[in-house]
């Protein structure tokens, strides 16, 4: 049995868990390739114009898998924590994908922890039952998958980006010295599928690093700290990713060793139009260097590069005490 997992959206959070789970149940996991122009082109062709870039890209990844696998694992991620959602588009994704021509059957179990955490196991059981009737086996696979996930999250908190953390988990690390001398620390705040996808982020993280900046992301901040900062808001945010980004941004704004914030949002992203505004308002109030990058299929690489360079220059001048900043 071949199960396809698109390298898109919350792949960046949950892939290690899903992979271990399906492999424990004897399936072969097929991951779609790294994002490319071709994959995005497929997404642009089949998704409606109005959806945001990362969702268009996910169409492309799913389509790449469609003819190679028996099932595509595309859970409906309603909610991954108590009283929070991801985004309406995540709620509708399986229905949007199912309609496409020649689509492989989907394993589109509902993951909904809005009420209680134990509801996760319901989804897992249902997904597992596509492969085996053996409840014990599913239960064991579930526990192994959780262990893998926890290990992955720990690596992220150590400051690895998903690509590096996965390499560690899969024993693919080459022992290389740090390629870059660090002179600045920059926080990159954005949805994981935007900032960690090197194609649509135009290699943002690696670029910043090569320009001498160490990159800090929201995934490195422990949940406890995120919650503490998010609790300062007048009303609790009901978006998991929004809360993470906002909490992390506030935390980094408080830290003297972080010199600036790059906020990355997809063009037309609903939640970001709100949380991004809150973050920007805060950064401005604290007079912290802030760069807003909006990604869509027309974003030009050269323009982004210039803006990042200019931003880093500005941060450096500010640190050097140039007046007027």
């Amino acid at each position: 049995m071949r199960i396809g997992i698109p390298r898109a959206l919350l792949y960046y959070y949950y892939y290690p868990m899903w992979k271990v789970f399906f492999e424990e149940l004897g399936a072969e996991v097929v991951l779609s390739s790294q994002s490319t122009k071709g994959i995005l082109a497929q997404g642009l062709k089949y998704a409606v114009d109005e959806v945001c870039l990362p969702v268009k890209l996910s169409y492309g990844h799913v389509l790449e898998l469609a003819e190679q696998v028996d099932f595509i694992f595309l859970p409906r991620l309603v909610s991954v924590e108590h009283r929070k959602y991801i985004c309406p588009k995540f709620l509708g994704l399986p229905d949007m994908i199912r309609r496409l021509d020649k689509m492989a059957p989907l394993i589109d179990v509902n993951v909904n922890l809005y009420r209680k955490n134990v509801d996760l196991y319901k989804a897992v059981k249902k997904a597992g039952s596509c492969l085996t009737g053996n409840k014990l086996k599913i239960w064991k696979a579930y526990h192994r998958s959780i262990v893998a996930l926890q290990k992955y999250f720990r690596l992220l908190q150590l400051g690895l980006i998903p690509e590096e953390a996965l390499a560690v988990l899969e024993n693919r690390v080459k022992n290389e010295p740090l390629p870059y001398p660090v002179e600045l620390n920059i926080a990159v705040i954005g949805h994981p599928y935007n900032i960690y996808d090197s194609y649509i982020s135009m290699n943002l993280i690696k670029r910043l690093r090569s320009m001498g900046a160490a990159v800090y992301t929201a995934e490195q901040v422990p949940e406890k700290i995120i919650k503490r900062y998010a609790a300062r808001l007048p009303k609790k945010l009901f978006w998991t990713l929004g809360q993470r980004m906002l909490g992390a941004a506030s935390h980094y704004l408080d830290r003297p060793d972080i010199s600036g914030i790059v906020h990355v949002a997809a063009f037309g992203c609903g939640p970001d139009s709100m949380t991004g505004d809150l973050i920007e308002r805060q950064a401005r109030a604290m007079n912290a260097p802030f760069l807003n990058l909006t990604l869509d299929e027309h974003t030009g690489e050269a323009g982004v590069l210039t803006r990042i360079e200019a931003f880093l220059d500005m941060v450096r001048w500010k640190q050097a005490g140039v007046v007027g900043l």
Binding site: V48, R83, K89, G92, K235, F238, C269, P271
Partner: protein, 366 residues
């Protein structure tokens, strides 16, 4: 304390009625206009959805008229509406328009939660008065809706262009002016009589179109360039997937009043195409498209603001409904730049297509 609230179509009529019944001092913002939108666009985040921008503009304009407190509905996601109030509040503060904020979070389990919240505004009033006020507001909402529905039927059949609109305005004013349940009953009757007094050609063939989509752009004529009126004058009878009173019953009374069309029916009909709620009215949009198709409507038109998430999901699956039922559909996305001329051309082309399918000539350009 002088209260104000955002506009959304005729919402100000029942809301004002309820608040005044409780003795509150109410400032109704000037009707949404280009100026409102310009103000909103100036201060709102660029990618905020249009209702957000218009709300903000309404508040700024109401403040100029002396309002100092905003009453706003809340929500718990996943779509943006639930966080509107807080961000609008922060923006108002930043631009030196500091206003108090009262958020009415929707009840989750029982209507009593809603009553409790309204009482916080009411101050010293008794429970009984609070309940009466809510009831009075609801009665007005229902009266306004019935009048609207009557106007949808009259408009495509009117013999004198504009007669329905005039009658509808008169009717609204009567309902708006009623200060007690007894008066309201009278006003309601009178209003419906005025509408049915519009001379109509009942033998004229009309097309029927169901309007579906996001609640604000459906209910607020300013945000949809008077869609219903335009369709009416093109010889189309419309129905809407959302009416104020139904919304109130579904979301504030949690279905207490029986006999109204409910969101559950719409959501059930959406099942094969969209199997889960997606926030906003996305699932209702799909379910209503199915229901309109089943009821023999000639077409459906989906309306929503630019970047509206639940409706983008709905738009992605709507072709499935269109294909299975053979019902034509048109999607109109409203943003601050969308021009009227382009809209009219698209509407005419769509109506033309429906007329030809049905074999009616002379619907357009009569």
């Amino acid at each position: 304390m002088r209260l104000t609230f955002p506009h959304m179509g005729n919402l100000h009529i029942p809301l004002k009625a309820m608040l005044q019944y409780l003795g509150a001092d109410v400032v109704v913002p000037p009707p949404s206009s280009k100026k409102t939108l310009t103000l909103g666009v100036k201060y709102a985040p660029e990618f905020a959805c249009m209702p957000f921008k218009l709300n903000l503009g309404n508040f700024i304009e109401a403040r100029e008229l002396g309002a100092d407190t905003v009453v706003m509905a809340g929500g718990c996601g996943p779509c943006r509406f639930g966080y509107y109030a807080q961000i609008e509040h922060a923006i108002l503060k930043d631009i030196g328009c500091d206003m108090q904020l009262i958020v009415l979070e929707p009840p989750e389990k029982h209507i009593s939660e809603f009553i409790l919240k309204v009482r916080q505004i009411a101050g010293t009033r008794s429970w009984w008065q609070v309940i009466q006020a809510i009831r009075f507001g609801y009665q007005k909402a229902r009266a306004v809706d019935l009048l609207e529905i009557a106007s949808f039927k009259a408009r495509p059949r009117e013999l004198v262009p504009g007669a329905t609109e005039l009658a509808y305005r008169q009717g609204l004013a009567l309902i708006d002016g009623a200060t007690s349940s007894v008066e309201l009953k009278e006003a309601n009757k009178k209003a419906l009589r005025i509408i049915s007094g519009v001379t109509q050609d009942h033998s004229r063939p009309v097309l029927k179109i169901g309007l579906i989509g996001e609640i604000y752009t459906l209910l607020e004529p300013f945000s949809n360039h008077n869609l219903e009126r335009r369709l009416g004058s093109l010889g189309v009878e419309v129905d809407r997937s959302i009416y104020l009173s139904e919304w109130v019953n579904d979301h504030l009374f949690l279905g207490l009043i029986k006999g109204l069309r409910s969101k559950n029916e719409a959501c059930a009909a959406a099942a094969p195409y969209l199997r889960h709620f997606v926030g906003g009215h996305g699932q209702e949009t799909i379910g209503s498209a199915v229901n309109y198709a089943r009821a023999g409507y000639d077409g459906v038109i989906q309306v929503f603001p630019f970047t509206c998430m639940p409706e983008i999901v709905a738009k992605s699956v709507l072709p499935g409904v269109g294909g299975d039922f053979g019902i034509p559909f048109l999607t109109l996305i409203m943003d601050e730049q969308s021009g009227e001329a382009g809209l009219l051309t698209r509407l005419e082309a769509f109506v033309d297509l429906l007329a030809r399918r049905k074999g009616i000539e002379e619907v357009v350009n009569r």
